[in-house]
């Protein structure tokens, strides 16, 4: 009898402890759920791009053969050299391409960012971006989901997940369809992945994009873009219609055979640059290259092309005499 009473008492104590553990755990979970996730900046809103860097490349478009500042390999150079600017006028399949997810932050588009909130937990599940160029839409998942299998479809925007590090959002994107590093034929392969680092400073947003591409880059390419909050901005639609702009026989893809592109020296000559430097490569990205770069062939006394791009916010004049 005494033994049974002790056992009952012991079981009761265990049950009591179990109930209290359960209750305490429940309280703890509820407490944690009600705590805002401090540190997360709110990126939601209307953002306008600032083209205060590389304006002529990003708006009217890069010069042919301008590979400056990109750590490309010879394979990328060969692809770039074969590019003919008529390609997008002739090959209609190229005409309505959106930018790749890695290029879109540099491209000529405004952006709206929405926060996707779980209605039950009120946790941030994803960030959604829309850009009014080729209707680009992208979702960046923050709910801890894994990236899909490598066999899953590759898209222009890719598959993005993100985590927070204090006030910085770190984004990782895979499953990219082949696109470009620069809009003059420098390719970026479908093997590439990229990481982004978003940080908001008041009304400014800085996004660093770090692209790794085993096919076309010899080292990670890091670029950054800045945006300014523009609450009055409203995005419109951007419906692309394709059609042949330059007459050409069906099936023709304008291109240059290796060593046959006559336009590659233009950028060096127009801007007074060493031709070798315009060919890009990791070596050219660092300060010591200033000391060993060769002399250019030409020395323009005055700027002659795209001199005022971005000066007034009204676009670019190719010829400065018209400004």
């Amino acid at each position: 009898m005494e033994s049974a009473a002790l056992r009952t008492h012991f079981v009761f104590k265990i049950r009591s402890k179990t109930v209290w553990l359960f209750r305490a755990s429940l309280v703890l979970v509820l407490v944690l759920l009600t705590i805002p996730v401090f540190g997360e900046d709110d990126f939601a809103g209307e953002w306008a791009p600032l083209f205060h860097e590389d304006n002529p490349e990003r708006l009217p478009g890069p010069e042919l053969g301008d590979y400056m500042g990109i750590p490309i390999n010879d394979a990328a150079r060969l692809r770039g050299d074969s590019y003919d600017a008529d390609r997008i006028s002739v090959v209609t399949e190229y005409q309505c391409r959106p930018h790749g997810g890695d290029y879109s932050m540099r491209g000529l588009s405004n952006m709206r960012i929405d926060s996707i909130i779980d209605p039950v937990t009120q946790q941030l599940v994803a960030i959604h971006t829309r850009m009014n160029f080729q209707e680009m839409e992208r979702t960046i998942w923050l709910d801890g989901r894994p990236h899909p299998s490598g066999m899953a479809p590759h898209t222009f925007q890719g598959f993005s997940t993100a985590t927070w590090d204090g006030n910085m959002l770190n984004v990782y994107t895979t499953h990219l369809k082949e696109s470009y590093l620069r809009r003059n034929g420098l390719p970026r392969s479908s093997k590439a992945t990229f990481r982004e680092h978003w940080v908001r400073h008041g009304n400014y947003l800085t996004v660093v994009t770090a692209i790794t591409d085993p096919a076309f880059l010899t080292e990670t390419m890091v670029r950054s873009q800045t945006w300014v909050l523009d609450p009055n901005q409203r995005l419109g639609r951007d419906i692309c219609e394709y059609g042949p702009e330059v007459p050409a026989p069906r099936g023709v893809v304008p291109a240059h055979l290796p060593g046959m592109n006559p336009f590659l020296h233009e950028v060096a000559n127009w801007y007074g640059l060493p031709y070798e430097a315009t060919r890009g490569g990791a070596e050219t990205l660092y300060p010591e290259y200033q000391l060993k770069m060769p002399k250019p062939d030409t020395h323009p006394e005055k700027c002659e092309r795209y001199c005022d791009c971005g000066n007034t916010g009204l676009g670019c004049n190719l010829n400065p005499t018209k400004r």
């Binding site: 997360e40 205060h52 500042g69 204090g166 400073h201 990205l285 001199c307 000066n311």
Partner: protein, 278 residues
Amino acid sequence: MNLKSRLLATTVAMSAIPAAMFAQAPPGTGLTAKAAAPIDLTGYWVSVVTEDWRYRMLTAPKGDYYSLPLTPEARKVADTWDAAKDVAQGKQCMAYGAPAVMRQPSRVHIGWDNDNALKVEIDAGKQTRLFAFGAPRPTSEPTLEGSSVAQWQSPQITRFYTSKISAQDPNTPGFRGQTPVGSAPPDTRKLGGTLKVVTTHLKPGYLRNNGVPYSANAVLTEYYDIHQDAGQEYLVITSIVEDPQYLYVPWVVSNQFRREADGSKWNPQPCELILSSK
């Protein structure tokens, strides 16, 4: 203390963690800027010139003002630029002032000058900047590097005030009876943060090597952030130059640097114009 009490105490203590976490190193806690640093900027960094390559690696030709939101007055001034005259007058360092120097291809060495000031040395042009936390170091004359006031920004510091206000309100759930001011705050370096630097008292100089001016009234605001990619550590500096005389909107750019293991590639060079004819 019985089990029930211990669990209750644990739960209450856990609920107080946020208040303690976000109360790091705000002004008034007695911590030095060095002790409160949410990120470690010290060390050697090298410019990674992947943007605006042709005007950063070389001196752009006269009249090349792309990407700059200039006023007509700025264009007028820049149109009179004469490189030879600058050299003759010893003005080679005009493009090495604070608003432009971090865009020069360079190596940057950041270290603590004292517990409340960071020293930033740039090998290009042999420039030195001092970021003072709290009151700026008084200067009698405007200088190329100007007078810089620094401030750490982190989620913890931002939330400190919220926590404090909440704790003072006895009806605020989750904060009742808590003391948010941490006398011995935990290390928050892994939680991230930003260094904000505001620079004024500048001597007029060039935003670009080819004579694009900024005035003595220019204000430079910079944000220093660190991130990691492919096993490398990078520093990105978002730079905002406000100068109503010469810029019709603030000029905003971001510059990347990669951390280097040591100063073996440190190579101080005098200010110079990297002309295409060099």
